[in-house]
């Protein structure tokens, strides 16, 4: 942007909808009781001190990951969306609907080309030409392809975006085990279906609130991804199993196990391994970061870990030939 060029000209050159931007500046100037001529000045001043733009795409998802983000204690979602980020496209939270929402996405892409953060929740269906999920008449894959081009960083939030999740779980009666051809962001990148960008996987169904916001905060502070493991997960959060962090591990080591969900041993906080806890095979931060303002985590309340941050955790009991389930994915038989 040259010194002679006004911000609105700059935006126009980048393909931003000038009309909607100026209309907003005019309305804002009026609300601030500024003279009408101040709208242009306002527009020019808006060019400085930009917060990083975030575009959040939701595909085959349940909105649990967004809900989880709103439960984050540090930083809070208010601080993120008002003070630290510019959340320019997010179906659940944004004011605009329809074509105006799509315009907001295009505006944000054009104004921040090469520097915005793309967050994806939900998997991307690839079967049947992508008709399993469309937004504004466009397939999820097409929207992802277009939006990832100008992204500096991609964060796949939740097990669906990171590993395929529930939509990719086995449907043993359907013609294909993964009916909709649901794919993770990483799978599409590795297959060359979308361009390659720095990708952080933040799995969990949903991820721990503070793990989502902490990953974003790390990027804000250092301008880069934290150290990642071979599944592209941030090592600070996914470096150890939940079992290694679980306060019940002393009972585990002493061979003290609960045999029923409400027996005396369960009441005294004994280890839940025999009731199906998947803590030893699950990498996540639940016992350390804990959920909902440090309140609890599954094993602390009394149900074993489901293993929800691991790929294919829904299909643990699927027969190797894929023909059916051999038992429960979560509950072994512990009767004497």
């Amino acid at each position: 942007m040259s010194h002679d060029e006004t911000f609105t000209e700059f935006l126009t050159r980048r393909g931003v909808s000038r009309r909607s931007f100026l209309a907003f500046c005019t309305a804002t100037a009026a609300a601030l009781a500024l003279p009408a001529a101040a709208a242009r000045e306002l527009a020019a001043n808006l060019a400085v001190a930009r917060r990083p733009s975030v575009i959040w795409l939701s595909f085959q998802e349940c909105t649990g990951c967004t809900e989880s983000l709103t439960r984050s204690g540090e930083p809070t979602v208010e601080a993120l969306i008002l003070d630290h980020l510019s959340l320019d496209y997010h179906h659940t939270l944004q004011a605009a609907s329809g074509e105006a929402a799509e315009q907001a996405r295009r505006d944000a892409m054009a104004a921040n080309w090469g520097s915005y953060v793309l967050v994806v929740d939900g998997s991307i269906p690839t079967a049947d030409g992508g008709v399993w999920s469309t937004i504004a008449g466009v397939t999820n894959l097409e929207m992802l392809r277009e939006t990832i081009e100008g992204a500096a960083l991609v964060i796949a939030v939740g097990t669906c975006a990171a590993f395929g999740g529930i939509p990719a779980a086995a449907a043993v009666t359907a013609p294909n085990i993964n009916q909709s051809g649901a794919r993770s962001v990483g799978e599409l990148m590795d297959a060359g279906e979308i361009v390659t960008r720095t990708l952080i996987n933040v799995p969990g169904c949903p991820p721990v609130p503070d793990v989502i916001s902490g990953t974003i905060a790390y990027f804000l502070a250092y301008g880069t991804a934290p150290e990642l493991d071979d599944q592209r997960r941030p090592i600070p959060y996914y470096g150890t199993t939940v079992h290694e962090q679980c306060p019940r591990i002393w009972h585990y080591r002493n061979g003290e196990f609960a045999f029923a969900f409400d027996d005396e041993r369960a009441q005294q906080g004994y280890c839940l391994y025999l009731l199906g806890c998947k803590g030893p095979e699950t990498r996540n931060a639940c016992p350390r970061v804990r959920w909902n303002l440090n309140t609890s985590f599954p094993m602390h309340s009394g149900h074993g870990c489901l293993g929800c941050s691991e790929a294919a955790f829904w299909d643990r009991a699927l027969a190797v030939d894929g023909s059916g389930f051999t038992g429960s994915c979560f509950y072994p038989d512990v009767r004497p």
Partner: protein, 574 residues
């Protein structure tokens, strides 16, 4: 005739699209489309029924526990599997906490921007806002300096030029009627509600280990009570925190949510005359009292039933297992039925066979006369039903629940509106607020019952008598009911050889947002949009108001299309 398309409809859960035909600016016909399918019912087939709750719960992360509840109840219903009273009370507390949490978030974070002009708040006088807040309620955040700070935060944000989530809103639309001070108060409460919801979600974390997606279990509740301090999350200190959270919930509802609803409603009384829908209402009921000696139906706090054509004098009984009552059509849906498209199926015999026949993406319009949605069309005895807060409040009112009658009558008197005002967009908003109070207040009762049980030495939370599949009959089927914040929800399960042979979920937004049936009868969204005058087709705020009043749980779209000159105008919804 013109057609308006809105896709994506935002500030909802999921993917919804709306197309509305207008004549002289008035909607004459609308189509509601769910544009995303995951096929979770098919994923469930073949699995162990005890695993179903965890998979089914992921149908929705917003009303995050309702599918888990419906699922465990379906299995328990199939197996005639009783659960301990404490488990019932813990479930009641978790479901009711979901109602209070979800309704407040819907009001402030999903629906408010249809009524509240955020930009107008910039011209509010903080002192006048403080005076107004002090008249509204005793809520402590009411000083001029508080509102001055909030205003400064907002103007700093908007002044940065990066409008983030507020970009391209319909700010300045003439349908926004609130004075700047009330807009500022509502924005302040938007932020306060974000903070509040984070704290009250801890109730789910205590009993279920986390929120969203707390844990459940067939046969009871997966949180052992009665251990020594620190042994589990629900030790004495954890249980005391539950009590504090309930108090915080009720206070926010009484001092913020109710006063704001009434204050805002006063400026939008014209919305008490539009947006009704189909005039039929259905509930499955909720909150069984485990200590009551009444029969299954008699012990429900919210009764089960159907109200037809606004007739509050008769409540028709609903039977989830009667194959002639609840049925789903796919005449206008992208599915195949093996017995023919126009033959409805009861959920026990339900089928989920995707058969997309819509246009190949990218597309501009769907064909309203053919199949146009991933949603099916559920019907009760062939009739479309509205489900949700309005249905529940009407059911409580019609069944003679005195507290409800008093609350409804006082609210209508205060707003100077007749009873018929309930059958509207505004009525739906008000019903949601009123039931939040009814259910929030009831939480204290269930909490006391739980503590009383524990004190009398009953700490059972799980019945494992029927937990292992070798104790089951070789085949069984059952229906699990619940009331989700958005309305009546049930899951139907067929179990054969200890595995799931069929599984169907008929969800509230399918009742409300589903397409036409074989007879061409519209669903509630479609019926409710008819007759709306759209002030500016470029900014169809009116469509969003009525659609959001249902609190959709899917992603939507609305398009405007000019059929007069044969040309089609794609309208910007901004």
């Amino acid at each position: 005739m013109s057609t308006i398309v809105v896709d994506p409809v935002t500030r909802i859960e999921g993917h919804l699209r709306i197309e509305a035909e207008t004549e002289n600016g008035i909607i004459s016909r609308a189509a509601s489309t769910g544009t995303m399918l995951r096929g979770i019912e098919n994923v469930l087939i073949g699995r162990d029924p005890r695993d179903a709750w965890a998979v089914a719960q992921r149908i929705c992360g917003v009303c995050t526990l309702v599918h888990g509840i419906a699922s465990v109840r379906a299995v328990e219903n199939a197996l005639a599997y009783p659960i301990p009273p404490n488990a019932e009370l813990i479930r009641n507390l978790m479901i009711s906490a979901q109602f209070v949490h979800d309704h407040v978030m819907h009001f402030y974070h999903l629906h408010a921007m249809d009524w509240v002009d955020v930009v107008s708040a910039l011209s509010a006088d903080p002192q006048a806002a403080a005076d107004l807040q002090q008249c509204l309620s005793p809520w402590p955040n009411s000083s001029a300096s508080y509102f001055s700070d909030v205003k400064q935060r907002l103007s700093g944000f908007i002044g940065s030029g990066q409008l983030g989530i507020f970009a391209n809103g319909y700010w300045g639309h003439p349908e926004y009627k609130l004075p700047p001070e009330l807009n500022l108060i509502a924005f302040a409460h938007y932020l306060e509600a974000l903070d509040w919801q984070r704290k009250v979600a801890r109730l789910h974390a205590l009993f279920g280990g986390k929120n969203p997606h707390p844990n459940f279990i067939v046969g009871g509740a997966p949180c052992a009570l009665g251990g020594t301090a620190g042994a589990t999350a629900v030790d004495d200190q954890g249980l005391a925190l539950v009590g504090e959270i309930i108090t915080d919930m009720r206070r926010f509802v009484d001092e913020v949510y109710i006063p704001d609803t009434l204050a805002i409603a006063r400026y939008y009384k014209d919305w008490a005359q539009r947006g009704e829908g189909v005039g039929n209402f259905m509930t499955y009921g909720e909150f069984p009292d485990p200590l009551s000696g009444a029969d299954e139906m008699g012990r429900l706090f919210i009764p089960r039933g159907v109200i037809l054509n606004r007739d509050l004098s008769t409540i028709h009984p609903v039977d989830l297992s009667d194959e002639t009552q609840i049925q789903e059509y796919v005449s206008h849906s992208w599915y195949n039925y093996s017995g023919g498209q126009d033959q409805p199926l009861h959920p026990y015999a339900g089928e989920t066979r995707p058969n997309y026949t819509g246009p190949q993406p990218p597309y501009d319009n769907l064909a309203m006369d053919q199949a146009y949605s991933w949603l099916k069309s559920p019907r009760w005895k062939g009739k479309p039903m509205e489900v949700g807060p309005l249905a529940r409040v009407l059911m409580l009112y019609a069944s003679g629940h005195e507290t409800t009658q008093t609350l409804v009558n006082e609210t209508l008197t205060e707003l100077k509106l007749p009873l018929s005002a309930l059958y509207s967009t505004l009525g739906r908003v008000a019903a949601r607020t009123l039931e939040t109070k009814l259910i929030g207040d009831q939480m204290a009762v269930w909490y006391d019952q739980l503590l009383g049980n524990l004190q009398s030495g009953d700490s059972r939370t799980h019945n494992d008598e029927l937990f292992y599949p070798d104790t089951w009959p070789s085949s069984a089927q059952g229906a699990g009911y619940t009331e989700a914040p958005r309305g009546a929800l049930a899951h139907w399960i067929v179990i054969q050889d200890r595995r799931i042979a069929n599984y169907q979920a008929v969800v509230p937004s399918t009742w409300n947002a589903g397409p036409r049936d074989a007879q061409g009868q519209e669903g509630p969204y479609e019926a409710a949009l008819k007759g709306h005058r759209i002030h500016d087709p470029q900014q169809p705020l009116e469509i969003l108001r009525t659609i959001h009043s249902f609190d959709p749980c899917l992603a939507c779209a609305v398009h405007l299309m000019d059929l007069d000159g044969g040309s089609q105008i794609r309208v910007t919804v901004s």
